[in-house]
């Protein structure tokens, strides 16, 4: 650690005195990063696509499973177990296991990443629906909502905060895991990172983009939640 800092400090000073030597010395080179940002944009875009497609597919599947299990409670344990097993398979192993079936490419990565999100989404949707006040459900049914109307107008809206909490975890996790998608030949920021993994500036730029992407996605879900659930902050002792 100390040697790395020393190196960084050293390269910093040399960088000031002798610009071209920063890259050669494997230093942290902001000007290089700024001049070579173009090469990262396609990778970032791939990464965003991987994350969004996987999350959307994972959410859709988990949502369908959760709605199925919501009225048939006995389905909850088996679905939790199966998605739990998918969740525990190391992602790199999942990529390699899928390669012979789906081949190298985005499809393989998306299948693996989406299956990772299933457990997170499923549990949060079920928890969210379970957390809906029983008396609101009883009142809704007693006023003449059908099961479907009750689900879409009362239960799901009230489950939104818990569901979105799951979405935040799933997005952040997937941004991290998608950095390994290059093993499946799906590109992404991991590809950029891996291509010059000895070059510190490259590692910092690619890794930094992952962190920023995760933060931006997280913040946008948080903003979405504010807009979708105006009631949750509207509380005052009357």
């Amino acid at each position: 650690m100390i040697t790395i800092l020393a190196q960084a400090g050293g390269s910093f000073f040399r960088h000031r005195s002798n610009k071209p030597s920063c890259v050669e010395d494997n230093g942290i080179c902001p000007s290089w990063a700024i001049h070579h940002l173009d090469r990262y944009w396609p990778r970032l875009w791939e990464h965003v696509q991987l994350v969004l497609i996987s999350t959307v597919i994972g959410f859709a599947i988990a949502f369908a499973l959760a709605l199925l299990a919501h009225r048939r409670r006995w389905l909850v344990p088996p679905i939790t177990n199966v998605t739990g097993i998918l969740y525990t398979i190391p992602s790199v192993a999942a990529f390699f296991l899928l390669l012979p079936i789906t081949g190298r490419g985005t499809l393989t990565a998306v299948i693996a990443l989406a299956s990772y999100t299933l457990l997170i989404f499923f549990r949060n949707i079920i928890d969210g629906l379970d957390g809906v006040p029983a008396e609101a459900v009883d009142a809704g049914r007693g006023m003449g909502f059908t099961d479907r109307q009750l689900l879409w107008r009362v239960e799901l809206p009230l489950a939104i905060p818990t569901i979105l909490a799951g979405l935040r975890i799933a997005l952040t996790t997937t941004v991290g895991l998608a950095a390994l998608a290059f093993f499946a030949g799906a590109g992404g920021l991991g590809e950029a990172l891996n291509s010059q993994k000895e070059f510190q500036t490259n590692v910092i730029v690619a890794g930094g983009m992952c962190v920023v992407l995760a933060a931006v996605l997280d913040a946008s879900v948080l903003l979405g939640q504010r807009l979708l659930t105006p009631w949750s902050k509207a509380r005052s002792p009357a």
Binding site: G140, P157, R235, S236, A238
Partner: protein, 390 residues
């Protein structure tokens, strides 16, 4: 044409329909409700939750289901809107069976208010109240007008409350909104399960009074569930006392329930102070008064004393020039203060006044201030005794 007065079943029973679907009526429609040999048994239990329950609720009456916990009163109420399905017997709403209507459709025409209120936390007060009108497909302007009308009806300010979320209401306000929501589509029948249960006693009394005032205008048929006999006596036109297993112990108006309990169970349930509870329901005007032996100042007292004795009263009643009672005239000529009562005074309060006054007789006054007659503890006793015999 109003759908609620033309239920999904066959239209053979219109003669018993008290609703007036066409033309303005002084009172909004109310439905008759009849439970016929209703029973409910849950699978896997050895004892039924409801056993052969039959009762009729006339249109516009409040029927209170009361009993100890586990007596099936909430179950009985929830059978009416098919939140729980019947095992046997039938329930008729305006003469037609609830079995013939789809549960969700049936419920939209029956108001529903529960103890925990169950307002939707994610919807504003206005949206909560608009729930059933929206399910029934009312247009926006009609819903908006109805929502404001109801908020005003429950004594809140539409401007202030309309856009609030339930989390921003006090307990009492939330209960009121719950009642407004149940009334939104003007249903002919209202089911209320301990609607004022989760509220402190003072607020609870206010809510009860407000609801009775509302009911005076609306004249809905109401099924009201409570475990509190005092609330039952206060709210009910008729009270059904249930005992364990959903067995009907007695179904009667409050006064009859108090003065002529059907069995030991009912007597025990109404409590040791049944007579005082009965007096809380009665007015002075219901009691047979004795004639007032009036005497004017300066008149010779002998004849008046004679009349007082004949009426069973100890002293003549001294009246002023306008004929208004001013005092009792004791035998020695000195005066004792006289208690004045209005004919619509509650009997329980009148008895309290009698017991605390120097002479335990009171002058009941007409609007003009003159004596209508004399009320005594004995007269109240006779009143209660006549009811005990029926």
């Amino acid at each position: 044409m109003d759908r609620s007065s033309a239920p999904g079943g066959p239209l053979l029973v219109n003669s018993t329909n008290t609703a007036q679907p066409e033309g303005p009526s002084p009172h909004p429609k109310a439905a008759t409700l009849e439970l016929r040999h209703v029973s409910k048994r849950y699978p896997g239990t050895d004892r039924p939750a409801i056993t052969d329950l039959s009762l009729e609720v006339p249109a516009g009456d409040i029927c209170v289901l009361v009993g100890p916990s586990g007596c099936g009163k909430t179950t009985a109420m929830r059978l009416v809107n098919r939140m729980i399905e019947l095992s046997g017997g039938d329930i008729l709403l305006d003469g037609s069976s609830i079995r013939e209507r789809r549960p969700a459709e049936l419920r939209r025409h029956i108001g529903y208010a529960i103890q925990q209120i169950g307002l939707f936390p994610h919807q504003t007060v206005a949206d909560n109240i608009a729930t059933v009108p929206r399910l029934l497909g009312w247009d926006k302007d009609r819903i908006r007008a109805r929502v404001d009308e109801l908020i005003a009806l429950i004594g809140l300010d539409p401007e202030l409350v309309r856009r609030r979320y339930p989390g921003q209401l006090s307990g009492g306000q939330a209960q009121r909104v719950g009642v407004a929501r149940a009334l939104a589509a003007d249903p002919p029948l209202l089911l209320m399960d301990e609607p004022f249960g989760a509220i402190d006693p003072i607020n609870r009394m206010n809510l009860q009074n407000e609801f009775l005032r509302l009911q005076n205008e609306l004249r809905k048929t109401v099924v009201f569930v409570t475990h509190d006999i005092d609330e039952a006596i206060k709210m009910g036109d008729r009270i059904a006392v249930l005992k364990e297993g959903g067995v009907l112990a007695q179904y009667a108006p409050p006064a009859e329930l108090l003065m002529r309990p059907a069995d030991e169970f009912v007597a025990g349930f109404v409590g040791a102070d049944a007579a005082l509870k009965r007096l809380a329901l009665g007015r002075v005007s219901e009691v047979k008064l004795r004639p007032a032996p009036e005497i004017r100042d300066g008149e010779p007292p002998a004849a008046a004393r004679e009349r007082a004795r004949d009426a069973g009263l100890p002293y003549p009643l001294l009246v002023d020039e306008a004929g208004r009672p001013s005092a009792w005239l004791r035998d020695g000529g000195e005066q004792a203060p006289v208690l004045h009562l209005a004919p619509d005074e509650v009997l329980r309060n009148a008895l309290d006044g009698l017991l605390r006054s120097e002479v335990q007789y009171a002058a009941v006054l007409n609007g003009d201030g003159r004596a209508r007659g004399v009320l005594s503890v004995g007269a109240i006793h006779d009143f209660l005794a006549s009811e005990e015999q029926g």
